[in-house]
């Protein structure tokens, strides 16, 4: 398959807040900095797959470190439920990845995306989804 398309959401409280955002955005395609991983509604993920994403990566704050108390845990639960629903279409759980860590300069973001793209490359295209 061609290089897998990964959509990446990252929370600005722990990721890339010291970086030059526009410079980084020019380097990373389909990167969406947001305020709080808890903002990621299940709808955004389904929408990403409908727009041709092969995988979605969410970068949130370390556990216990959410600016809004537990946005990262809320997202963790949401992803677990969504993964279960997606199984009905054989959409593998690995296509949604959550990394909870801190990276103020955002220098690790391309590496995280690269690593996920590699893993998704092994899975191939989503069998049932629209391209």
């Amino acid at each position: 398959m061609n290089k897998p398309k990964i959509v990446c959401f990252s929370c600005k409280f722990s990721w890339s807040y010291l970086a030059d955002e526009s410079k980084l955005a020019a380097e990373i395609s389909n990167w969406i900095p947001i305020i709080c991983a808890g903002k990621i509604d299940a709808e955004y993920l389904v929408d990403a797959f409908l727009h041709g994403a092969d995988g979605v990566l969410i970068l949130g704050c370390p556990e216990g470190d959410c600016h809004y108390q537990d946005g990262n845990i809320e997202t963790k639960k949401r992803l677990a439920l969504l993964r279960q629903a997606l199984a009905v279409y054989n959409i593998e759980p690995e296509r949604i990845r959550l990394v909870l860590a801190r990276d103020p300069e955002g220098k690790d973001i391309p590496g995280h995306i690269e690593e996920m793209a590699k893993a998704i490359g092994q899975l191939g295209k989503i069998k049932t989804a629209k391209a």
Binding site: D41, A42, E43, V46, D47, F49, L50, D70, I73, E74, K76, K77, R78, A80, L81, L82, Q84, A85, L86, A87, V88, Y89, I91, I126, T128, A129, K130
Partner: protein, 323 residues
Amino acid sequence: MTGKPKVAICWLGGCGGCDEAVVDLNEVLLTVADAVDIVLWPIALDFKYDHVKAMADGEITLSIINGNVRNSEQEEVAKLLRKKSQIVLAFGACACFGGTPGMANFRSKEDIFNWVYKDAPTVNNPNGVFPQPVSNVDKKELTLPAFHESVKSLNQVIDVDYYLPGCPPPTDLIAHAVTATLENKLPMKGSSLAPHKALCDSCPRNSTKPQKIKLTEIKRIHEIEAKPDICFLAQGVLCMGIATRDGCGHNCIDINLPCRGCFGPVEGVRDAGIKMISTLAAIIDAETDKDIEKITEQIIDMAGYNFRFSLPSSMFGSLKNPE
């Protein structure tokens, strides 16, 4: 010919319950029948599609169409009624969202045919006969409607003016929809002729719903003796009432069953099933991966539960796109 407005009522891919709901209007139906000319109602009156074909475009004031579209005949009738009608009302969950038969979209057409005509244990079909749109018997050509790849809601096939959800819609909302049409008091095109809020808003159990729900265990309705006056979520039973449009008169709740979502999403929401996933996550009381997994596993067939009435029209259902 009278000068009365013409009304058509028609049944596509559905169970007949929606037509029954119209009959349940009782005396109101007699008043309506006085005020309009019914020009098509296959389940009750003997008009033919040819009568409709002979009419001028837009001659029918209102077409009330129930059921989804799964085959070529249903598609043809839907398109014919659209052409001849000023207003099309998608009536019932199947027409509005695809309905329970829409869950067939979890499978391919091929899977369905193989099961129904070959693999199901009660099938005896040694010659492997499958229904064909055209077959020749004794030099005569016989035709059947072609079975489409997937179930579609009405608005995926024709332009729909108004929606009246429910499985089936309740009589008060039906009477209201018909009166609003006849009196020219319909809201903006595209509206659902039902309340905007969620079912919880009118649910008699709402006062027992805790301010902050914390689910530590999820049970299915048959696994507990559900208390008749306590919010289902407070009893650990999933209830779609939080993500479902109000208007049914809390039918299921009143017979001690949780809401399954036949009224579809509340105003402004694209996909009730996905919203239910987000909402459910917020009320599950777990933090560690292990605890989250434990409670998630207690939800049997989440996709089937959340999209029981709405798969064809949902965003989620678009993930599978066989056509």
